[in-house]
């Protein structure tokens, strides 16, 4: 029962506070009156009676306050008072409040956004049942790819996985309702949907039987979003006949909503059995151990530990390597988290995000330091108020609580603004379509409600951090002293105070972000102007895969030659040529090269690995790849003539230690001797940040390929030319699904995408860091000046020179600025080493970067002290001394 009574009085105190107050007031007053009446009865004169009664009572207000303190929820009540007071304080100085909230909002937003992306990409698991059991297998070193026989062996020999599957990304020509469109999808092995463990939304998913042998099934499964967009959400879609790369398929099911494959950033819309790949791809790789083109995904059995899995993998791979020494020598698999192509993209992405998270943390710390010094200065200004409150009996704890509540209010407001900012940024990111032909899906970045909690936690933490900075000041306050000196501590700006240290620390932190920004900006500049080894300007790229229109070998070769011939005749075309794929397009073929003397073709005996391209005559000219020596490939190089290749300078240097390689030989993995017919300039092949790699260009007429990338160098207007090329292709065969047709630069945008993202992210942090350091420096400089204006004007009146005045007023600021900047630049240089991983040629020792950072620091320092300096120099001693 007492609990109920207590709760009732608590609620009464909280909600009927006015009535409770009136009641109390009346009670105390009636008590006083009764005391007076008693005294009068005892024979005192009325005046004396009143005085005695008041003395006995001890003050109406004091009694009331004592009663209030004893009430249930008294703490909450006074806290509420603190909040009201804090809001009043902030309303009274809106400039301060706005600055503080804004600084904090930006600092917290940066953290929440980065955390949001980090959470989506790294921390959150795939959206499938029991996602913690789903893993991916990949070679211990090298790319993320495995071959089909390898996965088949793991599937059949292991005891730790309940299902093992492999899959390949593919762009299909999907013909439905009479229209052929390119669609990204997956060829999946039989246990794929067992690993994934999702339920179909309609119909069924693919099973082991579908993948039993080539042609076992013509079943295809589409994603929920493809069902919505391509089939209009037709409830009778199951059973629909479609043609994929000209082969008839039946749609047997639709996946549940939200499932789009097992890579977080890819949107895959159609799933077909991998057993059928020969008919879809135009050639068979299912039985090849050395053709590694598959990603894998496995589901671990219940209760199996990672060391068990790794031990079993080691046993299996060791056996495979013994059994097939030629192809599988040194095979070693490891387990990685799925969703980001294992550690391949996941590793660098995690590293980059961790780095950015660190920068975001630095920015928040700088913001806290900034707010901390603002608060410290404010507390110093309020020394008199605080002293009075202490003098009339307020405890130090109560004063501190008041200041903390103020900090808390600011940080919560800042956190709320940050939440809004982060929400907008992440929603924008999720809805953004990067310029690429790949099915990139950024929906993963959609903000989650858990981010609100994160923002709240960060705000509270930040509030406590900067709210506690004036702690020492409060505990040092001697009410006597503070009131005597009239609140203006003459010592201000003389001793080294906490806020000075904070300012230096903040400048150092901001310098780190500025250095990082300049390093990445410089890197981007270099990347954009660097020599790619080809010239994408004024060139159009057309991409399609003839296997999607059921072409193979000779037919494809015939089609491509016709295409080349007719494109070359289009007026305005300077040069044209085609290849299986182009450099920096995202897909690259890699092969081992052996020296001419080799007789042992095991992988460990290779000279090196190369990127290679199958090209037509004219490709080098069309792509702007400089031919330095020898000849271009020719259609007279056929399967019947000796194999030839054109190699880049790096290739020649590595194999022959000389660039005079024309006419010399090397061997491929099959032991075939290939003669070098020409040398081309070095270039970039897989990423813009790679070290110089060797590369080779083979005549496509010696090795037909259905994958087609047509390059047309043109003088004419792009739009006209695009229409003309499209016309030629459709005229040759209407069924060819064109994957991409447009300026080559558009496609290359993807290559510059990571570095652009990095630069934008780091640039924003840099700008924000600058803003913070300007705000901090300006704030402290004007505070110091205003505190000492009187003293300074006396000096002026006594005849001090401008130089002396300035060094007296702001000399220390300069020391702080300089030392903070130097420390910051050193820290920034240390941190920027990490950047070189993402940003091409990002060097910290770059004199340009150093000069730019130094210049920026000096400029911002000068900018932020300019105002206070003016104020000091224009101070009129006569007016000032009269006023004070």
């Amino acid at each position: 029962m007492p609990l109920f009574v207590k709760a009732r009085s608590f609620l009464r105190n909280l909600f009927l506070s006015r009535r409770v107050e009136a009641d109390l007031d009346q009670e105390v007053h009636s008590h006083l009156e009764m005391l007076i009446a008693e005294n009068i009865r005892a024979g005192m004169p009325p005046h004396e009676a009143q005085r005695a009664a008041r003395i006995e009572l001890g003050g109406v207000e004091q009694v009331k306050e004592q009663v209030r303190d004893s009430r249930t929820g008294a703490f909450l009540d006074s806290l509420l008072q603190d909040f009201r007071f804090a809001l009043r304080q902030l309303r009274r100085s809106p400039g301060f409040a706005l600055t503080a909230v804004l600084i904090l909002a930006l600092g917290i937003a940066a953290n929440v956004i980065v955390f949001g992306v980090l959470q989506a990409l790294v921390l959150r698991q795939l959206d499938v049942p029991h996602a913690d059991q789903v893993m991916t297998l990949q070679p211990k070193d090298g790319g993320p790819f495995v071959s089909n026989p390898e996965m088949r062996d793991v599937r059949d020999d292991n005891t730790v996985f309940s299902a093992v599957a492999a899959y390949e990304f593919q762009d299909f020509g999907l013909e439905a309702n009479g229209v052929t469109r390119p669609v990204w999808g997956c060829a999946v092995s039989g246990q794929y949907f067992e690993v994934v463990g999702i339920k179909p939304f309609l119909g069924r998913l693919l099973g082991r039987d579908d993948d039993d042998h080539p042609g076992a099934s013509d079943a295809a499964v589409i994603s929920w979003s493809a069902w919505q967009s391509d089939f209009g959400g037709d409830p009778n879609v199951v059973g629909t006949m479609v043609r994929i790369n000209k082969h008839p398929y039946t749609i047997v099911g639709v996946t549940q909503e939200g499932f789009h494959g097992t890579e977080k950033i890819a949107q895959l819309d159609i799933f077909v059995p991998m057993a059928n790949e020969a008919s879809l791809d135009g050639f068979s790789w299912l039985e090849s151990r050395s053709y590694r083109n598959l990603f894998s995904v496995v589901r671990m059995k219940d209760g199996v530990t990672m060391p068990q899995v790794q031990a079993e993998l080691n046993t299996i791979t060791a056996r495979i390597a013994r059994q097939y020494p030629k192809e599988e020598e040194g095979l070693a698999l490891k387990v990685a988290r799925p969703g980001m192509i294992g550690d391949f993209i996941g590793g660098p992405a995690r590293g980059f995000l961790a780095g950015v998270m660190g920068l975001a943390g630095i920015v928040l710390l700088a913001a806290c330091a900034n707010l901390g010094s603002l608060f410290a200065a404010r507390t110093a200004d309020r020394a008199r108020e605080i002293a009075i409150r202490m003098a009339i009996g307020s405890s130090r704890w109560r004063v501190l609580r008041q200041l903390l509540v103020e900090a808390f209010v600011i940080s919560i407001l800042g956190g709320a603004c940050a939440c809004g900012l982060a929400w907008m940024a992440l929603t924008g990111l999720a809805g953004w379509h990067p310029p690429t032909r790949y099915p990139l899906n950024l929906l993963f970045a959609m903000p989650q409600p858990s981010l609100i909690l994160m923002a709240f936690l960060i705000s509270v933490l930040a509030g406590v951090v900067f709210g506690l900075m004036p702690l020492r000041q409060i505990f040092k306050t001697d009410p006597n002293e503070a009131i005597k000196s009239g609140g203006s501590q003459t010592s201000a700006g003389r001793r080294w105070a906490l806020r000075d240290v904070l300012l230096a620390a903040q400048i150092a932190l901001c310098c780190v972000t500025v250095t990082a920004a300049f390093v990445s900006l410089r890197g981007l500049g270099k990347a954009l102007t660097m020599d790619l080894g080809f010239n994408p300007k004024n060139a159009l790229l057309t991409q399609f895969d003839l296997s999607q229109a059921a072409y193979t070998g000779d037919a494809a070769d015939h089609f491509q030659r016709q295409l080349l011939e007719r494109t070359s005749q289009i007026p305005g075309v300077e040069a044209a040529g085609y290849a299986n794929t182009t450099p920096l397009s995202g897909d690259a073929s890699v092969a081992a090269v052996f020296s001419q003397q080799s007789a042992d073709f095991r992988p460990s005996n290779k000279a090196f690995e190369i990127y290679y391209y199958d090209v037509s005559p004219g490709y080098l000219a069309a792509s702007g790849t400089p031919l330095l020596a020898g000849r271009d490939v020719s259609f007279t190089d056929t399967v019947k003539t000796p194999p030839v290749a054109i190699v880049n300078q790096e290739f020649a240097r590595r194999l022959f230690h000389s660039e005079h390689a024309v006419g010399r030989y090397f061997k491929n993995g099959d032991g075939v001797s290939i003669q070098i017919a020409g040398i081309v300039a070095d270039g970039k092949y897989f990423t813009t940040s790679e070290d110089q790699e060797p590369a080779a260009f083979f005549p496509i007429s010696q090795k037909a390929n259905t994958s087609t990338a047509l390059i047309v160098r043109t003088r004419r207007d792009t739009a006209d030319m695009v229409a003309a090329i499209r016309g030629v292709i459709l005229d040759l065969d209407r069924a060819v699904p064109i994957r991409e047709l447009g300026p080559w630069n558009n496609q290359l945008a993807l290559s510059f995408f990571p570095i652009q993202v990095a630069t934008v992210a780091l640039g924003i942090f840099g700008a924000f860091g600058l803003l913070l350091s300007i705000a901090g420096t300006f704030g402290l400089a004007s505070y110091t000046v205003s505190k000492r204006l009187r003293e300074l004007s006396i000096r002026v009146a006594l005849g001090a020179q401008a130089k002396q005045i300035l060094s007296a007023a702001l000399g220390r600021m300069l020391i702080l600025l300089a030392s903070g900047s130097v420390v910051g630049m050193l820290l920034g240089m240390a941190a920027s080493r990490l950047l070189s991983a993402i940003v091409y040629q990002a060097s910290v020792q770059d004199p340009f970067v150093l000069a730019a950072v130094a210049f920026t620091t000096v400029l911002t320092g000068a900018l932020s002290v300019a105002g206070p300096v003016r104020r000091v120099l224009h101070a009129d001693p006569a007016t000032l001394l009269r006023e004070q």
């Binding site: 029962m1 007492p2 109390l24 009636s30 008590h31 006995e56 004592q66």
Partner: protein, 110 residues
Amino acid sequence: LSPEPTSLLQGTLDLLILKSLIAGEMHGLGISRRIQQITSGTFAVKPGSLFPALHRMEEEGWISSFWGDSENNRRAKYYRLTKPGLKQLQVETKRWGRISWAIAQALEAS
């Protein structure tokens, strides 16, 4: 005034208030005077201690209050003992008995 009223020991105030209310409902001043009377002037309760105690005890549910007219027709707030209050009085009385016995023992020991 009586010589130097002993300051109230912590916790005894509740006991004295409960005890004084046994006689019937009373307003604040009444309780104060009653305590003075039953302790022969040893204890003088100041309003600054009395009112917080009364409000706290009301929140605990030991006493309840109502507005009424005083002896000379002034409005005054009256307090009366509740059932839990009566029980609390017994508990407190027993506790105080133990304490005073223990203190007496301690003082008699040589």
